[in-house]
Amino acid sequence: MKIGIPASLILYLFSLMAAPLVPGIINRVKARFGGRRGQPLLQPYYDLARLIRKGFVYSRTTTALIYWGPLLQLAALGTALTLLPLFPGVPPLLSMPGDYILLFYLLALGRLFTILAAMDTGSAFEGMGANREALFSALAEPALFIILATLVHRSGFLSLSQIFVESSAPLALPGAEVMILMAALYLILLSENARIPVDDPNTHLELTMIHEVMVLDHAGPDLAVIQYGVSLKLWLFMILLCQIVLSVLPNLGVLMPLLWLAALLIITISIGIVESTMARLQMRRVPQLLVAASALALVAYIVSR
């Protein structure tokens, strides 16, 4: 199935539009679990619109970093999304050999700017949050790369586009290994996007925050850019997980878009369910979770060789 640039572009624009919907759905699921009706599904969009209309507020101790940080982070995420095949059979906007490494280093670049902007405020809390973010993402990296190594090894291709689009049976993995791979990726998804059980996006106690504490000093349009970036990142990881899920399912042809949406929706709802039913881990237990994800990925990699 060869589909040209227009389809990729439409999908890319659709992703940019649809990404903030994901946190909305997660919030709705959590509200339902808590017995509430919940905020409107489009609430993240309203929030973004409200924040963008506000003015910039900066502390006198900050430098230009706090202005550029969020923008560069969003730029890195937006670029990263162009490298990922968004839909089974449709190539991404950009692709080159080894682009999966570029993809995840773009994410790391985005994180670097978030961390720098957080440190720029000179607040002790934000430094602490930056510290944790850097630690946990460093621990998540081995797992991520072992997962990618498994994909590359199984398909024999060196770019995400080839892995998911050109090879007819991308993984050809037996069921059990794929499940382990997906479990590892799911843990990484939760950790990288600062969700429970690693971080609680709703917490109001600075001492326990990771991602939220880093953006405490951002306001107005900056905060909007950061929140949009957060949803874009979640979307990116969900798409990756979704691609792996769909690669083991049979190709349903015309029904594929429905299946794609259903898979994304199931992943979203599952995040909501995890957040509603689980407590977050003690901070010192988080590395163990991430190492467990690496161990899972390692098992999948070795076994599938």
Partner: protein, 214 residues
């Protein structure tokens, strides 16, 4: 059929990895029981469901001993000595997990070079059994509480059992029963010993056993 075998073998590895990272003893015992059940089902996935002493009796006895009786004895032990946590092992849980990953790599590397007399049904069978042996040994030497060491011993034994299953498609059932009985008696004796350690030292820590006194 080999798909199910692989799934069961992977379950074995995952349970081992969990045991390496666990702190709560009661959950560990539950996982150990689950491992016993997996081991009992493993020969079934190999031979299929036809009636013979190998497909009915051995899995049944394995199930009863490894899945029910030994976990029950361990539960009884932790109830009597009133502890439910392995707090600070000699090698921490996260480091243990990393070592677990290392063992898996090593065992795959070793088993590729291992010349076996017989063909093995599943490619991952021997490495899984080997890594299970290594992880059991690791648990045995790095944990502080006597009860966790017993669990390490059981993991080790489960690995050997899985290895035997892989190598000898039809192991003489007398030997299998003998091995099972041995393990059962060993755990039984260890249960009694645990009680003695507890009575003498008011604690469960094997550290006490290294000190001499009159």
């Amino acid at each position: 059929m080999s798909e199910i075998t692989n799934l069961l073998l992977l379950l074995l590895v995952l349970i081992n990895l969990y045991l390496l990272s666990a702190t709560r003893l009661s959950t560990s015992i539950k996982f150990l029981a689950a491992q016993g059940v997996v081991l009992a089902v493993l020969p079934l996935s190999l031979h299929g469901l036809h009636f013979s002493i190998h497909t009915i009796l051995i899995p049944l006895i394995t199930l009863v001993i490894k899945g029910i009786m030994i976990p029950n004895m361990l539960f009884k032990a932790i109830r009597e000595i009133e502890i439910d946590r392995e707090n600070d092992p000699y090698v921490g849980q996260t480091a243990s997990l990393l070592c677990g990953g290392l063992f898996i790599i090593i065992s795959f590397w070793v088993s590729e070079r291992l010349v076996l007399p017989l063909g093995v049904t599943s490619r991952i069978w021997v490495p899984v059994a080997l890594s299970s042996v290594m992880m059991g040994l690791f648990l045995l030497i790095t944990r502080r509480k006597a009860i966790t060491q017993v669990m390490g011993y059981l993991v080790l034994e489960n690995g050997i059992y899985a290895f035997a299953l892989a190598l000898v498609q039809k192991m003489p059932y007398l030997i299998e029963m003998g091995v099972l009985l041995d393990v059962f008696i060993a755990v039984f004796i260890m249960g009694i010993m645990l009680n003695h350690i507890k009575e003498t030292f008011e604690d469960f820590d094997v550290e006490h056993l290294t000190k001499l006194r009159d």
